[in-house]
Symmetry: C2
Subunit: 496 residues, 2 copies
Amino acid sequence: MEAGGRRDAAAVCSLLFLCLGCFHVIALKPQLFRLGASPLPSETPISYETLYFDQKIDHFGFVEDGTFKQRYLVADKYWKQPGGPILFYTGNEGDIAWFCNNTGFMWEIAEELGAMLVFAEHRYYGESLPFGQDSHNDNKNLNFLTSEQALADYAVLIDNLKRTLPGAQHSPVIAIGGSYGGMLSAWLRMKYPHSVVGALASSAPIWQFSGMVPCGDFYKVVTQDFARSGYNCDGNIRKSWKAINNISSTVSGLQWMSEEFSLCAPLKNKNDVGIFKNWLQETWTNLAMVDYPYEANFLQPLPRWPIQVVCKFLSFDSAVSDYQLLQAVSQAAKVYYNYTGITSCLNTSQTATGSLGFLGWFYQACTEMAMPMCTDGVQDMFEAEDWNFQAFSDECNAMFGVRPRADWAGVVYGGKDLASHSNIIFSNGGLDPWSAGGVSYNITDSLVSILIPEGAHHLDLRYSHDLDPPSVRAARLLEVKYFREWIKQAKTNTTT
Amino acid sequence: MEAGGRRDAAAVCSLLFLCLGCFHVIALKPQLFRLGASPLPSETPISYETLYFDQKIDHFGFVEDGTFKQRYLVADKYWKQPGGPILFYTGNEGDIAWFCNNTGFMWEIAEELGAMLVFAEHRYYGESLPFGQDSHNDNKNLNFLTSEQALADYAVLIDNLKRTLPGAQHSPVIAIGGSYGGMLSAWLRMKYPHSVVGALASSAPIWQFSGMVPCGDFYKVVTQDFARSGYNCDGNIRKSWKAINNISSTVSGLQWMSEEFSLCAPLKNKNDVGIFKNWLQETWTNLAMVDYPYEANFLQPLPRWPIQVVCKFLSFDSAVSDYQLLQAVSQAAKVYYNYTGITSCLNTSQTATGSLGFLGWFYQACTEMAMPMCTDGVQDMFEAEDWNFQAFSDECNAMFGVRPRADWAGVVYGGKDLASHSNIIFSNGGLDPWSAGGVSYNITDSLVSILIPEGAHHLDLRYSHDLDPPSVRAARLLEVKYFREWIKQAKTNTTT
């Protein structure tokens, strides 16, 4: 029974694990949209037009000849036509309006570049649903949810804009994206270099695939963030898992933990405890992603340098009782979940809801985007867990009736052999766990890496802020410098 | 009735027209394989191993998770391992063994380059049938017949060879192909530059798509070939269509024509005459494709410079009777159909059989590979016919239940905007009508055009011959020079 219980917990764990690898899907859950303040600084009103484009549901087959309405947002206030550049946001796994509002960088540079802004929604997210509300019903309807189809959407849309928008025919287009959207930006330049003259791939883990980087690097970065943010902060979290196991071994312990963590649903058994631990692991991971130098509301409303705030509760020698340790962990977790003070209870199933963004990304993770992750409890602060591709594949099959293809991403996107491409900036934040799967060195003169040591997840794409560290200010300047070079190159090519 | 009759003829015409644009599918008809001498010079025995690789039926979706056996041929007699180059033939629309036997150039340079030869069969042709004998049954089974799927097959196969063949890990791979296979070579380098260090795209009309080149250029080249091969040869063919219309307007005329041309099935009505005229147009076009400087058997067993032989019958002033003119046309056509003297009758439905290669290419032409062609009867020697995309699309829909996407090839493969790619040779023959849709100038220092003025369809890929013109000898030398450069580049990249 014990072994069986372990296996069940592990199975759930692996599915939640997906969620740990789900970029900011977490942020796309409807309830989070309603939380706290607007993600936009109120002093920066933005204005755009919402448009829809008829895209083929299947670019790579002809039997399914239907179309769907792809949403895209256009802001052309500063566009200098004819020929002014187009900054094209390659939407990722969520509502494009939300990404539009969270990509202040584009809004801030539009005027100086005389650029039009276009934000294109990724198919199967937001309003861009190939089969309407049935889009995520089954694997048949989900079959056209791939990065290749999304890239083709972007290429077709760009082609159409250039052919139909007066003044856009010779406009150089620059792809910009963050996280999975950054991967799409880089891949768009690689696969459709005639569509975009260059790409900014911010915090894009294009190497977080089988055989490209060690599976444990991601959680090492998370751990380092906590280690540097408070005395023994990582050590106490590393110790907390055993404390949870100890205390949760009795009914009264389960009850105490449920109360201490103000859980909405009390822990009842080992399975619940497994979910609870994954939820905590995800909490620390999300904090690492959004460890911004100022108060912000990306995944949650949070104070500036939130890990430092969290670690204030966890900076002590580990020679405390399990109960004392978990009390501290509880206070730390509530920094993330209740900074606003209005949360009445914490919901450990929060990351396992069936919202659209989730299902879509789960499907992608179960097909092309299977990203190996593992922990060893030594170089990271988590319980040891190997990457088990077969178990993962079996879960995907049970959930969607599909199996991931471990090697496909490497074959289709080239893995580490990218030198023949050009004009891509890979920016990564030193605090961001996703930097572990990113391009961290210059591959060639025009495939360049920009490191932002004090940056969390795509900090460079956010609005500038008084508290921005110098490294991100420099990164943004350099990015614009490259944009100008690409635009100049394109103009030279057009006139010759 | 008259108008209706015209429409019927035009409808058939357009389908045959497809065939005029079917590269050497014509050569793939089983009966042609049995004709005449072996396509291989008997003094050049070649030897290869036939292997099969499990390919995913659908690389771009996950519901169809089945595999099929892709055939590929390997010759490693001269391969210098570890690290010797691999010359990878990107199979086109037919049996790979036939292409293997007709690509002597690769066999002739294997030793000097220390290269392994791999000939990969294109899905849905030869033995590489995703659904076995049912592969062409309906549009559902045909749905995975696209160039993107074929390119993915090649990339996956190359990845597998490099990972599993001892000594191949660092082997630079060069893609080589002719005609549609040449398009695939170029596109493989464009889309998967990590797979192949360069590509030779011989006689590859990558611009024979909507909006890229004038639709009439193809038949202008055919006409020029006849104009230069005998006095008034093109003029007499131009005049022949009216003569056919005149004579076929009576029952006795139909009978006379049927006998004069030794037709297997006598012409009975206007519809038959439409088919007959298309068959003749295709005959002249095929002759232009295979106007080789020596006796050869590519599409048919033919004498050296066959158009000159054909034109011997058509070199006279046009002031002859319709009957005299058609007698000459008949003798000329028989050069193509009966050079061996063993053909008892000519079959005008020859190009409309339902053989595999045909159906597969028809489907491709009806989906991605819709290539606009037109004639005006002034700059070419054919009856005037506009390109009518809608009519073509309707026929495709009636035949397969699919419709071509006119702009897709341009969006997915970049049209004329290729400058950011590298290491592709586009070779074209001046006699080859497909050169009209080919790359005829250097785009950059590493996207180069090689023109072979005296060359027909991918002459450079054929075995060398004593009667080869100097231009094709020079082309082959230059091609090998580029291969060596690419191999050197790759070795430098591997060691740095």
